[in-house]
Amino acid sequence: MPIETWLTFVLGFMIIGSIVALELKDILSSIISIGVVGLGVSVAFLFLQAPDLAIVQFLFEIFAIIILVKVFIKKDYHYEEPSRINKMLIGVTVITLAVIFIFSISVFKNIPPFGEPLLHTSKYYLENGAGDTGAANLVSSIILDYRAYDTLGEVTVLFTAILGSVTVLRLSIRKNKNKE
């Protein structure tokens, strides 16, 4: 089977999974449906010849599910009561997004078709990557050599995010101790 068929199948599966995740009432079921969507992304990366990304996405998904379940499983969950304003908001949003989708079709006609990338900058990396850096894996040669400052910035962002979450959670722990 050609790759387009597989990708269409996986993408349709992901769209159905995300709609199910947003519309379900039970919070644990929605988190698990999001896990299905993320693993679909991982499978799509495998089809698109990106094995490193498939592994990283798989790990990301496992960690995200563990974090979400760990935090939200014990909270008692309040059901949304349906209101008229909310129904009107849903209708207006769906119509607006449908209009955006219809107008975006002409935009997608202008980009190069699937399977024929432009490859202006990457031609240099593909030809000289092994000679310049000595790495057999060109993705790691780009991430750790040509664009090492980018990776440094990534690590900074990650450090800041983890620092922020640790700070927020530690404040709450300290307050609980004071109450006791």
Binding site: G38, F101, A130, N137, V139
Partner: protein
Amino acid sequence: MIIYLLCFVLFLVGIYGVITKRDLVKIILSLAIMGYSANLFLILFAYKKSALYPILEKGVDVPMVDPLPQALVLTSIVIELGTTALLVSLVAKLFQKYRTFDITKIRRLLG
């Protein structure tokens, strides 16, 4: 082109969740959906027909897919994990204060 459009539909599903859902957990999940579709779109853009993954092997000389978007998306996935963790901790803190996830009820100022 139909694959690009399906990927865009996935992004629109994420926007729909962010706008219409009143539950903070659902909003986090819709942000995750938008992130997935953006990453997938970049990788779809990089794919080349009948090309292999960009890892060099001895004696094998075949065309390779574009390695640059793969490197950037690798960065983006890791950052997404960090931002998701930060969002989750903020929402857990909000739940401790207000005892609800509903954003229409989180309006009072509590000291």
